[in-house]
Every structure is written in C-alpha cells, then in structure tokens.
Amino acid sequence: MNWALLSLALPLLSAFWVLLVRRAVSETILFATLVSLTAALAAFYQVQSDPVQTLLLGDWTLPLAIRFELTSLNALLMVLTATIHFLVGLYNRFSRHGSGRYSDYWPLSAVLHSALVALWLSRDLFNWYVTLELLTLVAVALVTLSGPKAYRAALGYLVLSLIASLFYLLGVALLYGEYGVLDLDRLSALAVDSANTRLALLLMVLGLMLKAALWPLYLWLPDAHANAPTAVSALLSALVVKGPLFILWLTLTQIAPVEFAQQLGLIFALFGSVALLSGAWSALRTPYLKTLVAYSTVAQLGYALITLGLLLRWQTPELATALWLFVIAHALAKVSAFLAAGEMQATFGSKELIAVRGASQSMPLAMFAFAVAGGSLIGLPPSGGFLAKWILLQPLFAEPAHWPWALAILLGTLASAAYVFRVVALAFDRYDVETELPQTDALAQWLSLLPALVVWGLALISQPLMLWLSTGANP
C-alpha cells in the first residue's frame, strides 16, 4: 500500500514545489511522474501476491475511517494514469506546440494525476465527492490554459459539472440518511431495496453521467475538449471522464438493488447504443479536426455504457473485464489521436479538418499515429480495442436473444471506421505540386505515436491482462 501512497503523493508534492520555487518546472514534474509511475508499478507488483489490500486512513476503524483499497484493477489504473501523464508531459515538453516549460500546465497536470489516483484508491462516497470537485476544477483550469477563446467552453463545463456534483452529493446525503455510513463495503452490506435508496442512486447516476459525459448528457464535452490545448485534450479525454465512470460502476454494482440495477442496465445499454451512432454521426459531420476526435470520445464512451448496462442487466460481473479493457484501450488510443490531431492542427495552422489534406506526405508519422490509434478505436485486431470488443461480443453471440446488442456494437464499429477513414482518406489526397510543405516536428510526431504503439502492444500481454482485470474487477 505504501507504494500506492507514494504514487499518490509525489505528483502533488512536486506540484507544490514547482509552484513555490518556479525553477526547472517541467523537468521536476516529469521526473516526479516517472517516480510515481515506478511506485505504481511496484504497487501493482505487490498486489499480485496480496490481491486486495485495504488501508483505513488515520488508523480509525470502520465505519468512521475513510477506506482505501488497492486491487490489481486500480493498481493498473494507477499505472495507466502515470503512463499517460508522463507521455503527454513528454509531448508537451518537447513539441514546439507545447505549452512551454514554465506554464502552469505542469503543476496542474500533476494535481490532476494525484486527484485521479486518489479517486481510484478511495472507497468512500463523500471522499469521492471532494475528489470529483478537485478533478473538475483542475480540468477547467487546464482548459482555460488555451486563453480567452476557451472561456465559454470552460464556463459551460464548470457550471454543468457543479450542478452534477450537487446531484451526486444529494444522493450521498440520502444514502447516509438511510444507512448512516459512507463506506462502500458497509453500504453494500446494508443496502436494501427502498424508495429512498432508488432515489439516492438515481440522483448519483444523473450527476455521474453528466460528469462522465455519457449520452445524453454529453453536450459540454466536444466544446471543452476541442478548445483545450492539445496536451490537455489528451488528458481530459483519456483520463478525466473515466473517473466518474469508475464511481458509477462501483456504486451500481455494489449498492444498487438487483431489480433497480437491471432496469438501469437496460437504459444504459440503450443509451450506449445511441451514443455510438450519434457520436459517430456528429464526428462524421463536423468540419473541425479536434472536434471530430472529441465526438469520437462521446461515441467510444457508448461502448463503456453498453458494457456497463449489460453487466448490470444480466448481473454478470465478468463483463467488468471488458469495461476496463475498453477504458484502458480507449485512453491510450485517444491520447495518440489527440496528440497527432493537435500536432497537425498546429503545424498546418488551421482548425479545419480539410487542412490535413495531403498530410500523409508532409506529416507521415503523425498521420500514422492517428491511423494506428484509429485502428484501436475501430477495434481492429490485434489492438487493445479489439480485445475488449472480443470479450464483450462473446456472450452476445452465445444467445440469439442477445444478437440485437451485437448488431448495435457492429454498427458502432462501422461508424467509427467511417470517421477514422474520413481523416485518413483526406490525408492520402495529393498535394498540388507547387504547395510548400510546412515545417514539421519529427520528435513530437514520434511522441504522439508512442501511446498508440502501447495500445497495440496490449494484445501481446492479453492473457495476463485479462487475468489481472478479472481478479481486480470482481471484488
């Protein structure tokens, strides 16, 4: 557990340090992230021998204490968070289009890292409320880094996020009013099917869906994610929306009465199917490159929502493996897609999608990164995205009654293929011979390719990965 705590505290401490001394800002944060990543790996290694570690904060007993829990799932999520923070940090440091070595991106991203780790570890409903607020404020602050043009999007995001927090908090208060505890396990043991429990869970679900931008409460996302600086878009899409999803999954699987969970599950699965198609449709129609990538997040979250819905509907905890594989694969792929898109946008000097015409010649690496990441988003074998979809589809094919869901997922796959190829096809269009090629930044393109390679690499370790997730995801 101490490794996990180290991984939690270090980014935060380094953020304080660089805010105070203002020297070697990017170097300090990158170094701290690397150490934090190492600590997360150590925690992950430790958890293999001791699958569920709990820590009661302050050494108080339950129900008084806030409880941390380390399983191989959240150890893996910690590794993912640190990895992505590090990769995005490298890009932001070394790309010419990064935010500079001294900008507040550095301490803010470090706080974001710590807030996420705190969220993965915590098992306390109210503590989650505070981490969610922290996450929101960091995310909004990061969005405003790109200057006055992002203010409107940032304000919209903030306002919706604040009201969403209140929904969540009211739900927590009502649960506390009924059961008198805030710890997830205690609640799970005590919870019964009552009108108050249903109301509380419904309020929490609404708040969390809004924060995770799940369909139909996603309207704030494309603006906020597309207007942020490139490195920030990557962090937001890859990580921030997954925090509320994690809480949603845990609360519903642990606390929700079975009948209620099944009803919600059906709704989730339906919403997820719509999200796949409507997100993809918007991605196909938008004239802007980064907005396309942002809409793809809406669509991809549809997979997560379908998986969560079916998991609740059939009460099959095994599907959690697919859920978290989706999350991990999507996170890595989306980092690549955003970094590549942002790099192209900055190099060509235009937000328009049409500007990438011919990019396969001028920026082959970035385009390759985008295509590779897109491959995982579509779910081409043997990427991480394929793996997740494969696990999800197996139980769906097994029974004819489940085929409609499989159809929805296949349609979603086709739709995501369509928007990925929309970009790729444009990029393979030829330049006019006279056009001067823009100056490109090879290193930044390589960095944008890295996460995509990792997500394809996931296929190599698919066996142990599924094992880790299945032990971690079914407490």
Binding site: F126, T144, P148, L155, L158, L162, L166
Partner: protein, 97 residues
C-alpha cells in the same frame, strides 16, 4: 411531522428550485446563484438529517463545512471566469470595428 421533516422537505424544494432556475437562466451570475441555491438545499437536507438524534451528528456537520468551502471556491472561480469571458467578448467586438 417534526421539524426535521419540515426542513428536509424545504431542502429538497430548494434543490429543485435551484435546478429549475438554472435551466431557465442564461446569465452567468443567475446560473451561479441558482447553483448555490441548489447547494443550499442539499446542505439543508444534510443538516436536517444530522439533527435527527438527541445531539447533532458531527460527521454530517463536518461534511457540510467541507461542502461549503468547495462551493464557495468553485463559485468564486466561476464568477471570475464569467467576468473574464465578458471582457474577452467585449474586446473582441471592439476589435471587429
């Protein structure tokens, strides 16, 4: 009905009224007032739940103190962001002329 239920109901009503106000308004200040009215409602629910026993539940009170701090910080930032947005848009408009 006891006073706990009176204030519990009042809290729920405030929460809903705040959401209602948020849906109806476009101006940043109004929206933030609405959010804070909602927040006041949630806190009222929490405190009335805390006051059910013979003495008042210290944990719930502490949670509300935390909630108040979070709310005032977020509100402060959001209102300043609104002012910054107004300034940015008005200087944009001047830039156009």
């Amino acid at each position: 009905m006891t006073e706990f239920q009176l204030f519990l109901g009042l809290g729920l009503l405030l929460f809903l009224l705040g959401v209602h106000g948020l849906v109806l308004s476009e101006h940043t200040i109004r929206r933030l007032i609405a959010i804070n009215v909602s927040g006041g409602g949630v806190f009222l629910v929490m405190v009335s739940l805390a006051s059910r026993g013979d003495s008042v539940d210290p944990v719930m009170q502490a949670l509300v103190v935390t909630g108040l701090v979070v709310a005032v910080s977020a509100t402060a930032f959001a209102l300043r962001l609104g002012s910054a947005l107004t300034r940015a848009e008005s200087s944009d408009r001047e830039g156009d002329h």
